[in-house]
Amino acid sequence: MTALADRPLSGLTLRPLPDPEGSSIATGPYPASTGSLESKRHLTIDVGGAERWQRPALVQYVEAELNALLELSDGWDGRRAHAVTIPAIQATVHVLAVVTNETSAPPQLFPLPDGGIQVEWHVGGNSIEIEIDAEGEPHVLAQTSDGETIVEGVIALEQADARLLEARNFLQTLSARLAHVLTPA
């Protein structure tokens, strides 16, 4: 992926040919946040200086899903649930930036009552569930359809966490299987 710092993004209207490999959310390292975090609740994810409509479909999907979660206010469950927190959003993008690529199956994203976010993939009885709490701490559980646990535990975001990399490998396997299922013979 072309880094933001490499691209002028200056309002020029002429564009060179895109990178042959395109941008990939999976190859991006940790995200940075800009702007006021608490008072305004709309998320944009910029990828490698690409124009908004040029971003990978998965990025646009994740952005839309997270913005839908950001619209939830306190009590969204009709009881005492908290609005999704900015640290949870940041951690979610961070986790997805590591575990997904352009061929990944899109995750399901759910709000948690504490202000956190649940990220899930389910393919043929296999599952990956990443629970990100309100403080932005993720916990991963990946299991096969046989009940075997592939990886489980807290993920450290400050480093290339082995559990996160295990989850990424498992997701690639599941995504390839899903693509195979969806591809007509």
Binding site: M1, T2, A3, L4, A5, D6, R7, P8, L9, S10, G11, L12, T13, L14, R15, P16, L17, D19, P20, S23, I25, T27, G28, P29, Y30, P31, A32, S33, T34, G35, S36, L37, K40, R41, H42, L43, T44, I45, D46, V47, G48, G49, E51, R52, W53, I86, I89, Q90, V93, A97
Partner: protein, 265 residues
Amino acid sequence: MTRSPSFENPPVVEIALGVQFRPIFALRGITLGPLRERWRDRYPVVEEQPPLAPVLEGAVAPGLGLALGFGPVPAARHWFLSSGGADLVQVQNDRLIVNWRKADSSVTYPRYEHMRELFATRIGEFVEFLDDERLGALEIVQAEASYINAVSVEAGQQGQLGELLRVWGGAAGHHLGEPEQARLALVFALPDAGHPPARMHIAVEPAQRADGGSALFMSLTARGAPVGPSLDEALKFLDGVHDHLTRSFIELTPATMHTIWGLRP
């Protein structure tokens, strides 16, 4: 303003002078009506475009690939176009950019001095519009100047950057021969421009001309924070970086092309 070296027939196909300013959240499509009327004669065509993300020069962050922005739903960017499409003003709630584009080969490159004057005039009118409509004050946080130069190359020759770069060593001796495409990015610090950090980004990349022909684009963008938030400071910043852009182009491109483009001291 001292005159920089220039070319009789430069390969410039686009110029942009612009500023980023603190967001004016009330500035949305529906509030731009009076500005549209003010500019209607010169820019009769208006188009809506996706907004540009903020780009602020900051500390170097190697490999940064994602940026999260939190703010209100992004407003659209509006293009105010001249009838031929060569002149363009782009307005969104945190940017104003004045572009010139080479619509066809007969169009003469308008020179920096002309673009600077046009830019100052449009910004002045924009500030008047903001005052008249009580939308807020313009507080400039970044200024930038960009040039795109294009050189036509044969199909399949987009890996031979030596057409445009004297510093290009190619891939001599590579077992697969010349690359099909090549890209180069250079970033220079501009220590004498505005509030640091200011930088110049230079990229040479394969491109396609409007007629479908193969080309190499060399884009040069200088960007940074002016010393103050006023238009005068933004203009000073642009004057300063313009000299760096011109000199860089001359220093990086081969003398054979200078002859073709008509370099004059």
